[in-house]
Symmetry: D2
Subunit: 136 residues, 4 copies
């Protein structure tokens, strides 16, 4: 199975006084990777909204903080669709340091597809579903 | 059982182009509330570190996003210790709008107590444990 | 002359690995204070947009970082309108520690009033102008 | 004169409910570019601190917001040292959209070099000065 991964460099803005990445910021890194994963599949979120009236909304997250990331670290953030069904998409994401073993942070992100104009659930666009499943 | 709750106002900085609070920022609100809960129990985190060599580190989070918070909303963020044992503290947190029913975001936050100078787990300071349990 | 000031507590999220408030975050504190200043004058920015088709946009900022703010500091962020003319509002803001002398950060913020629906400059609403000037 | 420029993609985290990049976040983009500029000159800030006891601190910023950046925009953030003297470094930075004319945000950032262990000003390390000036 081919996974998608996106590189993220840790800057000052990402750290806190503990000298490590602030715990909320891993969610930013994971969203950057999901955005690039969709782009890589051929989907731009602004086009999805404007042309297809579809937005993606995060319904729940589970994060395990295993080891801290630090200033200047070069991270890799993976995106792996686990389950795509109906309006719901479950994505597993891991953050590692490039060229090192060991996971720093692991996430399970549940996303739903909504009709942008009325915020009701709608099926994940077929083209995304096919491509996402093809990756599995 | 008496819970602790801390008010948070939503500002521009907290929102994203979807017009709602960005999904990572609820973790900021929850940490503000935990900081104030500790302060309310008589503990300042900088003193805990400098005088007692103790820091708290988040090990895992589970967040359910039930309804979005929006610009100008006046939120209340609760802190409810669920389990305090050894080096580990499990906290349940809910975010609601003041004077309204319905939970916007619900979190389960697992925290561990570490010796600051060597990052090994150490028991939650007894005084916190007593006070946290007394609140239950 | 009566100035408006808004209290801001420094949390983990605001700091960086240098142990002080990250330099961009002072702009967040200043915007919170401007939002509360407007609210105190009787203006809610969401109402201004929805009912009067007016938004405020920052055109330029000048910040001097004089002393760092740190975790747990209780800050006061002042708002002082310096010049209100046409579509333009110049605001001076200072950040101090409560009950201490000495300015931590000083800002001059230039804001313009825009018609929300077409992004062209429009006069600062008269009621704001009067109240802002009355404060001087 | 050869300038340094660093690409920055705009993600959800960077925007606010106005649909554009939040005004404080341009300072994050500029710091990323300065960090990469130093790295490109051969300097890692964590090494500068650990091995040479030197840190860089921003003393003042002037930002002009000329046009908004939006979600998905591919930006280029330039770094141009204007004056390097003693402990002080003045840097001009511009943010543009890739492959488009027109500056979105322009900044003048004044930085000072400090001895990390006692926070007193110290000369900008000679190697940086030479390389920075050589770029001019």
């Amino acid at each position: 199975m081919i996974e998608f991964a996106w590189p993220v460099r840790v800057y000052y803005e990402d750290t806190d006084l503990g000298g490590v990445v602030y715990y909320a910021n891993y969610l930013k890194f994971m969203e950057r990777a999901r955005t690039e994963w969709l782009r890589n599949l051929g989907f731009e979120q602004d086009e999805l909204k404007d042309r297809f009236d579809v937005i993606f909304v995060v319904k729940s997250v589970e994060l395990d903080y295993l080891q801290p990331a630090r200033f200047n670290d070069e991270l890799l953030v993976s995106v792996k669709p686990i389950k795509v069904r109906g309006a719901s998409l479950l994505v597993e994401q891991e953050i590692i340091k490039q060229n090192e073993k060991g996971i720093l942070c692991k996430g399970m992100i549940k996303i739903v597809s909504l009709t942008a104009s009325n915020f009701t659930p709608c099926p994940i666009p077929g083209a995304i579903m096919q491509k996402a499943q093809h990756k599995e």
